[in-house]
């Protein structure tokens, strides 16, 4: 379970969000500028809230009243960015292995094979990110986040930078991932996308949560 109750002032923009999510895939829905990315950056620990708490499965990650702030690298929260952010100096294999090395996890060839098969990235392993298409890059970014064995996966408009054909290419992989059972927070401004993936919706408007509930709140 993810519990969020925070405020954050970012220049003129103020973010004030409070929700609890039991869902396997929490869809964070809102127009651009609603504060979705700031909110998941706070969940990831990349931004510190001005006030409030973040807790994951009872584990307190942020609590401003007791000055707790677990840094991002100790949160075990995976993050798939809109722009993939693969390491340009490493090939796909090394990118995929990065999280395992940094978390000092033992090698798990079975898991590695399962993820590369799930995302069909086996043939790309020896390529550099500069030689991948947008869709391929996003699949590798998904695999890289998954292989760090996160407790929660954040996805920030992972289809946002892709054209419609590429979106259709990635969507089935995301559905497969959802059925793997890893909890996710999925950010999107596209209601249709969330209807396919989310099990619970948090609607965000101008920095405030305006609706909470099942996918039917999208209609």
């Amino acid at each position: 379970m993810l519990r969020v109750d925070i405020t954050k002032q970012l220049g003129e923009f103020s973010l004030e969000a409070s929700f609890e999510s039991q869902g396997r895939v929490t869809g964070l829905f809102g127009a651009s500028g609603a504060g979705k990315t700031s909110l998941i950056n706070i969940i990831a620990g990349l931004l510190r809230p001005d006030r409030g708490t973040i807790a994951l499965e009872g584990d307190v990650l942020d609590d401003t009243s007791t000055h707790i702030h677990v840094p991002p690298h100790r949160r075990r929260i995976g993050y798939v960015f809109q722009d993939a952010r693969l390491f340009p100096h490493l090939d796909v294999r090394q990118n995929l292995d990065y999280g395992r090395r940094m978390n000092r996890l033992v090698e798990d060839p079975a898991q590695h094979k399962r993820i590369t098969d799930l995302l069909d990235i086996g043939p790309l392993l020896d390529r550099r990110p500069g030689r991948l298409s947008g869709g391929e890059r996003q699949r590798v970014a998904l695999g890289r986040a998954l292989l760090s064995k996160p407790r929660l996966l954040l996805l920030d408009e992972p289809l946002g930078a892709l054209d419609d054909a590429r979106k259709m290419e990635i969507l089935p992989y995301l559905v497969r991932l959802r059925d793997e059972g890893i909890p996710m927070v999925y950010v999107s401004h596209d209601a249709a996308e969330l209807r396919q993936l989310a099990t619970q919706i948090v609607m965000l408007q101008r920095g405030r949560v305006t609706a909470l509930g099942g996918v039917k709140v999208l209609s």
């Binding site: 990349l46 690298h73 100790r74 949160r75 952010r85 390491f87 340009p88 940094m102 500069g130 986040a145």
Partner: protein, 231 residues
């Protein structure tokens, strides 16, 4: 042009040794300072930046004299180092290396700083969400991506160090075999009757070394761009 004499060889090898040691010792400090200037905001940053550039704009003789006052046998730091650690800079090749390191430092730092500034910080964020602690982010993402800039800075610093004259001769004088580098050897030769052809040989050698360093520096700069574009 006849052959290079043993005395000239001594000067050439000494210059190479001085410049290589100066560059290798200065590089870790240069990386640390470049990172600090590129990534951190702190009180006195502008002053630190200006102080680091000072050897570039100050007359080299002035820098050499300041080094003599500080690191000479009676200098504040020099006396302490000699008494406690047995390290002596005055009139030794180590002093020449110190002078060259100080003089080339701004040229060493600049390309490193630029390449750190050019790194997409979002890649470092991505690394931290994958479990990398800050120093591991630096070691596995920042430094490898800045490496071409580090090498370019080292090459430029080396080129400057090997040609340094004013600060070196002021600080450690012009002692053959100990502190007489190519530059000070040329200076001595052109003041000696019949020294012209020997001076010319050393000038040509200087040109070859400097050209090599500049070409290598260009090559590293091009590699840097390729690396950042992920090809």
């Amino acid at each position: 042009m006849s052959e290079i004499t043993p005395a000239e060889w001594t000067a050439i090898l000494l210059s190479l040794r001085v410049a290589i040691i100066a560059t290798l010792v200065a590089t870790p400090f240069g990386i640390a300072l470049a990172w600090l200037l590129a990534r951190r905001d702190f009180w006195g940053k502008a002053v630190l930046d200006a102080a680091m550039h000072l050897p570039l704009v100050l007359p080299p003789v002035a820098t050499g004299y300041l080094l003599l006052l500080t690191f000479g046998r009676r200098g504040l730091v020099g006396a302490w180092l000699a008494d406690h650690l047995g390290i002596v800079f005055a009139f030794r090749w180590t002093g020449a290396a110190l002078a060259c390191g100080v003089m080339s430092f701004p040229l060493l730092v600049r390309p490193i700083r630029l390449s750190i500034e050019a790194i997409d910080r979002r890649l470092e964020q991505a690394a931290s969400t994958l479990g990398a602690a800050p120093w591991r982010v630096f070691a596995t993402v920042t430094l490898p991506l800045a490496l071409p800039g580090v090498l370019a800075g080292m090459v430029l610093g080396f080129a400057k160090a090997i040609g340094e004259f004013g600060a070196t001769i002021t600080f450690v004088s012009n002692i053959p075999g100990e502190t007489q580098t190519i530059s000070s050897a040329i200076y001595s030769l052109i003041q000696t009757p019949d020294g012209d052809s020997a001076a010319m040989r050393l000038v040509i050698i200087s040109i070859v070394i400097a050209m090599g360093a500049l070409i290598a520096s260009e090559w590293f700069a091009r590699r840097a761009l390729q690396r950042l574009h992920g090809n």
